[in-house]
Subunit: 431 residues, 2 copies
């Protein structure tokens, strides 16, 4: 390769990948702030829609957008960005080929060509498991061909299922929304005297962290659902019916939290066991909550409803965890500091230093070691019957939802940052 | 009846009835505050679960709960109550018989017996349409039999569908949550480049007010869904497909808001047209959103999802409309003032005095005139094609979501008021 003899690249690029979170853009704001504070990097480009935008050259000069006329950080705009949910740069769900597979060579070459065109030496990628796979592969390829590229992954996922980090940016805000909404639903369920079962379905296909947050009332003097079922435990329909019967014997309003990913002992997702057929003859894969709703109605004959918390879990930003947003910003800035210090091929991590008071520090680990691993809720966090979480679990999650931070409200609605549609760069930025 | 020769009753009672709202308890707090500030009323009882609790004598002395040792209002507790969603007293869905029907006589007699036992002369009932029916009937019956009872209805409903009032307490906070969540969902939908349709189902069986709130970004510089379908307009599946096709031709991310109550021209609810059959052989009445999701997938073959905002619309209290909470408190207090002034057989109303700045005043109207009427979204608030709301509509709703007020957060979770389980009174309160 001809690249390794060139002068070190001085520009940086950042991308977002995977599902939205409420703190995704806080980390992006942290990267922007880090670059503006770091002497060694001239420009920061944002790739639109992750590596899809990198490949097609859809880049935006973020320094131009987030500085005032004098080149100082536009703190108002950065604050607006940090409190805007989803992914300001757009996202993608693209997996890179194996860097050692010659068939994948053209894709990597195309990516490096754009990086070279824009004189980019620092690559930041904010995302979950699949995105860390991208980081690991790009890092490995660049290293193999001698392309001087500092590659850093920055974690984000509401699922909290990445290895190597105590928790992930984005989880705290999602957990706060789930925990808060559960308090509200528990009150809502308490208003009538007729026996009724309410099943709340919470996101999390493989890991039950977010569902566990439904029980946080337990350590903060709030209300607690009767049962919490996680995908870490095989789900038994008969044990579930027994649980519900016992709860109905105790009080009329039974509230249950279930992960979308709960499955039977043979691995069949509970949501797939319905095989609903709609008016158009299509099999409709129901959510686990809806399937359990029908099952309770059929088995127990009582009033039952299901509530799927759905997308607002990942994009709800009207009440954010101050702890999460602060850490998300910090991990973004720390990634730039690490990159400027010569670190590469890593994912940034959060280390819990203490619980009371809660303190954390930002570190990193080799991304190749953790990419594609899933961190499940550990056994001590699940009760013996497998139908609730332990106090230990709640105490571990509680600090992550502490503190409230709100977006800027104007005329009654939150004002969010929206990146201009058209890239501001057309290849003339790498002067 | 023997009652009309007795001295005027000096105690009051308040109940909550119908579906929860986030501002239901703010109105209750207003009534408590009003009673504590009014010399003419000794005690305020709360009926547990509305008239069900009245009939069975399940009453709680609210003055004892919401005053300090010196009989002064416990403002901290009242503030906690005002920011607690659902119905602190519990609710019911009980309809009273026709007051002129002799068959119903025993029920009315039973209610009056409890009122007499507790020396109650003032009856406040906070609720929606069915509750105003209760108010009108109890008022008519008491009047007919000469039982000295001042009866006042206080409106609440997220549906905003009561006649006689500019809007209803509870609507503003629900509309704020819907409008805010729509902003967040619109951002969430924008992150990918693949053409996709997102259908958001919003509460409202007959009236589309809450669904209309999905478009509020229009007058506050925010994002706006492509289409808004209300139950006030007959829904046409073919016109809907045309709409979606046109939107997909404009941009990849199409977002649609629909009321749960949309129906075809023959009156069939869209949600009833699915006839899903689940794993247990039961016909499952889908929501309108889920039915449209399947319809779009079948007709257009594109990526499509539906999101039912569900219960959090009525119990979500982590971000409240300051305007709504303030008015809900005020309407509760004003009801006590009106009752103390001799007004009876009315529903309290909110009059819009001006829009800029927004100002309202509390008044009342004869409850018999408005009970069981439904106030729909008027024609000028719906566009010509029947697939969106007008700016005029958004401007009318916008002031009602203005301002943010939050519950008290502790350890990251909102702290809510929960009434002790057991009634504090056992018949010894009418000394």
């Amino acid at each position: 390769m001809e690249h390794n003899t060139r002068r070190p690249r001085r520009n940086a690029i950042v991308g977002q990948s995977g599902g939205p979170t409420a703190a995704f853009n806080a980390t992006l704001a942290g990267v922007v702030r880090g670059v503006l504070a770091t002497g060694g990097i001239d420009r920061l480009y944002g790739m639109r829609n992750g590596i899809e935008g990198l490949q097609s050259g859809r880049l935006t000069d973020l320094c131009a957008i987030f500085t005032d006329g004098n080149g100082a950080p536009d703190e108002d705009k950065l604050r607006l960005l940090a409190h805007t949910p989803a992914a300001a740069l757009g996202s993608c769900r693209r997996k890179l080929p194996d860097p050692d597979d010659p068939a994948g060579e053209p894709i990597f070459r195309a990516l490096l060509a754009v990086l070279e065109q824009y004189d980019i030496g620092f690559f930041f990628y904010i995302g979950g498991n699949d995105s860390m796979d991208t980081v690991a592969k790009l890092s490995a390829y660049a290293h193999r061909v001698g392309f001087p590229l500092t590659v850093i992954g920055i974690p984000k996922t509401i699922d909290n299922d990445l290895e190597g980090t105590d928790h992930t940016p984005g989880f705290g805000s999602a957990a706060k929304l789930v925990a808060t909404t559960m308090q509200e639903i528990l009150l809502d369920c308490a208003v009538y005297t007729i026996p009724a079962v309410t099943i709340v379905e919470i996101m999390g296909r493989n890991a039950g962290w977010l569902t566990a947050a439904a029980a946080l009332g337990r350590v903060s003097g709030g209300l607690v659902p009767d049962y919490v079922y996680l995908p870490e435990v095989d789900f038994s329909m008969s044990a579930f019916f027994d649980d519900v019967r016992q709860a109905l014997a105790r009080h009329p309003n039974v509230v249950i939290a279930v992960s979308e990913g709960i499955h039977l002992a043979d691995g069949t997702p509970v949501g797939a066991s319905a095989q609903n057929v709609d008016a158009f003859g299509h099999a409709a894969l129901s959510g686990a909550g809806k399937v359990l709703e029908h099952a309770v109605r059929a088995e127990l004959g009582c009033k039952v409803r299901s509530i799927e918390l759905n997308t607002p879990q990942r994009c709800g930003a009207h009440i954010l965890s101050a702890t999460d947003i602060e850490e998300s910003l910090r991990v973004g800035s720390a990634a730039v500091t690490a990159a400027a210090g010569g670190v590469s091929g890593v994912m940034m991590t959060i280390k819990r230093v203490s619980d009371a008071p809660y303190q954390s520090e930002i570190s990193y680990c080799a991304v190749a070691d953790i990419a594609n691993l899933v961190r499940l809720v550990p056994a001590p966090f699940i009760n013996r019957d497998g139908n609730h979480v332990t106090d230990e679990c709640c105490r571990a999650i509680a600090p992550l939802i502490a503190g409230e931070t709100l977006p800027v409200f104007e005329d009654g609605l939150p004002r969010f940052f929206v990146l201009p549609d058209e890239p501001t760069e057309n290849g003339n930025g790498n002067a």
